[in-house]
């Protein structure tokens, strides 16, 4: 095409004639790029400042211990496991004034390894990595730095690694209680769940939740249907495989809103999002749907982490990330740290249903006492949390 030739020769001519201009362009582009990396590095630099400021009375102790967290892609403010782990560090610093803490955010999975490497270089006393997705990066770093202590949230290693404390939570147990409660509170006869990603730490919640709904139907002769998660019929013991609704994203709240709207359009009136901050989108949808639509929050007590939606939360299906991260940090600071696997369950209060807050008076006393009985039944092993042990619907 003649036109292309024209513009190409034009370009070449211009380039020859106006070197000054090209140089200015290069400088500008460099400035823009520099600004980008400034924003990135400033993020971590001032986090450090914030971390130090927040640590109370640090001057009182000569001995300093630095606790560091690498977040998952959900970010530090996800009202969920990243935020909980950070709250654990804060709690540890409140107990032991010698502890200072900071975090680095991962904006994609490719940030895990460099973030961990940064913290190793900064000589952190313990590095907390958050999330199932970070298991490989943590393991690799732990193997190559055997004296660096790690704790990882939401994972177990087999065999255990001696310098990593893996924190795992049997959230199918409190998920079961949440499912039972959701079924009891539903008037439409349908309840729905969705996940952030099809990974075991998410589906273990959904699995227990669906089991709770089915158990409710069985003992009460009802037909409440759980939408959004269908546990696989045949699967290996300990597996939480199945098929369901996932946003495949832990950052785009609009997807959570959309999936909750889908579930409600299909009849569900109690929604249980297992998707960190994406669940806030579900809360927006439930609020928009108006009276008669409720939800259950996940990981943390929703009335504390997302108080603007407290009136929608029947309860929260929580796991004790805060106390277990706090304990791991304190033990590392004291020098009593032991690697291995920790499993939180109903029996050791590692997982639990949160208080009912606004719903305290709305949940029938009969249901509340049934939940207490169910809890001890699950602890004693009399009640199975496997959904396949109960008939569907």
């Amino acid at each position: 095409m003649a036109m292309n030739d024209l513009s190409q020769t034009g370009l070449a001519r211009r380039a020859l004639r106006s070197r000054g201009r090209t140089k200015a362009a290069a400088v500008l582009a460099a400035v823009a790029l520099g600004a980008t990396s400034f924003a990135a590095s400033a993020a971590s630099a001032s986090t450090n400042a914030a971390g130090r400021r927040a640590a109370p009375a640090r001057a009182a102790h000569a001995k300093k211990f630095l606790a560091c967290e690498v977040t998952d892609t959900g970010g530090i403010n996800d009202r969920s496991f990243n935020a909980s782990a950070y709250a654990g560090l804060k709690a540890a610093a409140a107990t032991d004034p010698g502890i200072t803490y900071k975090f680095l955010s991962s904006s994609s999975t490719s940030d895990y390894q460099p973030n961990i490497a940064d913290f190793i270089a900064e000589k952190c006393g313990i590095i907390i990595t958050v999330g199932f997705d970070m298991a490989d990066a943590t393991q690799a770093a732990a193997k190559s730095h055997p004296n660096q202590r790690f704790a990882i949230v939401d994972y177990t290693y087999t065999p255990a690694i001696k310098n990593v404390l893996a924190l795992h939570y049997d959230t199918n147990e409190d998920g079961f209680l949440g499912g039972y409660l959701a079924a009891a509170m539903s008037t439409s006869g349908k309840v729905g769940t969705f996940g952030g990603q099809d990974i075991p730490t998410v589906t273990i919640y959904m699995d227990g939740w669906v089991a709770g709904v089915r158990y409710y139907d069985k003992v009460n002769h009802k037909h409440v249907v759980a939408l959004g998660w269908t546990p696989a019929k045949k699967r290996a013991p300990g597996s939480f495989a199945g098929n369901g609704l996932f946003t495949n994203d832990f950052t785009n709240q609009n997807l959570g809103k959309q999936d909750a709207a889908t579930l409600m359009a299909q009849g569900a009136d109690v929604i249980f999002p297992v998707a960190g901050s994406v669940g806030l989108g579900a809360a927006a949808a439930v609020k928009q749907a108006g009276a008669g639509h409720y939800m259950e929050w996940v990981d943390t007590d929703g009335c504390i982490s997302a108080p603007q939606y407290c009136s929608l939360f029947i309860t929260s299906v929580t796991k004790g990330i805060v106390p277990s991260v706090e304990a791991a940090t304190l033990s590392a600071a004291k020098g009593t740290f032991h690697g291995g696997n920790y499993i939180g369950d109903l029996a050791n209060n590692g997982v639990s249903l949160s208080p009912f807050h606004d719903f305290q008076s709305k949940i029938p006393a009969k249901v509340q006492s049934a939940l207490v009985a169910l809890r001890s039944g699950i602890i004693s092993g009399k009640i199975s949390t496997d959904p396949n042990s109960y008939p569907v619907g």
Partner: protein, 429 residues
């Protein structure tokens, strides 16, 4: 289309040629429809029991109630498959090439209908909500692709849409939250987008920096900046700085009572209506006004435009800034038009999807709308299929929007032709 005098002749020929589908492709589309019909017969007719029924819910308040539509899966899917095959045969035999896309579209829709009937067997499918979700997921893409159209028709490539989305979402949420006035929030989003549009124009036009590189840098900059400000500014003071209200849906009197369409089209929030208005305005402006003729002239052959007295750089400046403003408003729809909170990287790459929609739509507003609707429908479809539990593994469902869009678009659209001077810097000799 009257592009007299300023457009290279080969451009006119290409524009005329793309209106009629080549005969080979028409035959290919016909064969494809017949194949789809076979799939429907095997998958949706012979595999289900003759007593299986599917129910489509067709009403949502406040529209006049439409009673649910209950269909026998076997008979409905069978009839639709026959229709689909007949349309395919028609396409293969027809000499006339005009209208081929319409026939293909109808044929594809019959297949889709058969598929939905099968997917909803023994259950209920809320068809109205499915369309609502489609429209809502399409809206930001419409803003994004209109932004692209505005820029590229004048000859500047804007791949910074994602960055302008983020800037608009961030500032829209913050201003909307602090002032408590959502309209100010929308304005702030527009300003944020416009500002980065101006930066793109400034670097690309004043200093002739490669437009792709500037775009990438702006996206990276906006991502870093919004992440940083979210962690440092918004998070510590979430309740004042990052909890705006959201625009409530506005029901248009009478129109919202139309069965099925009413709740889908006429009970939406202001962003949906604004997207529709902008779509019409930009389309009319570009192809029916003197301004549009000038913009297109500048995008096709700037030197010729200059010789007839059009100031090329100021046309480009104005369009790129306006494009940024549109993308900024689209960004604000993520926060104050939807969830009422900004979170890091919440636009999740949709700016790039909008860019792709614009290209698939051949740099035309309504073409881009078509591609955006297809993507939005696929997003909605996969969500409903997951709830209906049709037995497709969830990772495959997650891929569906992208796979469907790529397959349909690459099969139907074929070669596209950007504005001739798109991306080329311009300076007076």
């Amino acid at each position: 289309m009257s592009m007299t005098g300023v457009v290279a002749p080969d451009g006119l020929v290409a524009a005329a040629a793309e209106r009629v589908a080549p005969s080979g492709r028409v035959r290919g589309m016909g064969v494809f429809l017949v194949l789809l019909a076979f799939v429907a017969v095997l998958g949706f007719v012979s595999s289900v029991s003759s007593r299986a029924h599917a129910t489509f819910l067709l009403s949502a308040p406040p529209a006049v109630g439409v009673s649910p539509l209950t269909m026998s899966v076997r008979w409905t899917a069978g009839a639709l498959a026959v229709l689909c095959a007949a349309l395919g045969v028609l396409l293969v035999l027809r000499r006339e090439q005009r209208g081929a896309y319409l026939i293909f579209g109808v044929g594809f829709a019959t297949f889709l209908w058969a598929f939905l009937v099968w997917a909803a067997r023994g259950a209920q499918l809320n068809f109205v909500q499915m369309l609502v979700t489609t429209l809502i997921s399409t809206t930001p893409l419409v803003f994004g692709s209109l932004s692209g159209v505005m820029c590229e028709r004048s000859g500047v490539i804007n791949i910074a849409i994602e960055g302008q989305f983020l800037a608009g979402a961030f500032l829209g949420a913050m201003v909307g939250s602090v002032t408590g006035d959502l309209w100010l929030g929308m304005l702030a989003g527009a300003v944020a987008g416009g500002l980065f549009g101006w930066l793109l124009a400034f670097l690309a036009l004043r200093y002739a920096v490669d437009q792709i590189i500037v775009g990438v840098v702006i996206v990276a900059f906006c991502t870093g900046l919004t992440n940083f400000l979210t962690e440092q500014v918004l998070t510590p003071d979430q309740t004042t700085l990052n909890s705006p209200q959201t625009f409530a849906p506005i029901a248009i009197p009478l129109l919202d009572k139309i069965p099925i369409l009413g709740p889908v089209l006429f009970d939406e929030n202001v962003f949906v209506y604004l997207a529709a208005i902008l779509l019409v305005v930009v389309n009319f402006g570009l192809f029916r006004t003197r301004w549009g003729l000038r913009v297109r002239a500048v995008g096709e052959h700037p030197r010729a435009a200059e010789t007839v007295g059009i100031h090329v750089l100021s046309v480009r400046y104005r369009n790129v800034v306006l494009g940024g403003v549109i993308a900024g408003i689209g960004g604000a729809s993520f926060t104050i038009g939807s969830v009422g909170e900004f979170s890091s990287e919440m636009t999740a790459g949709l700016g790039y999807v909008a860019l792709a929609a614009m290209i698939f739509g051949r740099w035309k507003p309504f073409g881009a709308l078509g591609a955006s609707l297809l993507f939005g429908f696929s997003v909605s479809l996969q969500s409903f299929l997951a709830v209906l539990n049709v037995g497709i593994p969830s990772p495959f469902l997650a891929m569906a929007p992208y796979v469907i869009t790529i397959a349909v678009v690459s099969g139907l659209v074929g070669r596209v032709r950007p504005p001739a001077a798109d991306g080329a810097p311009y300076s007076r000799e």
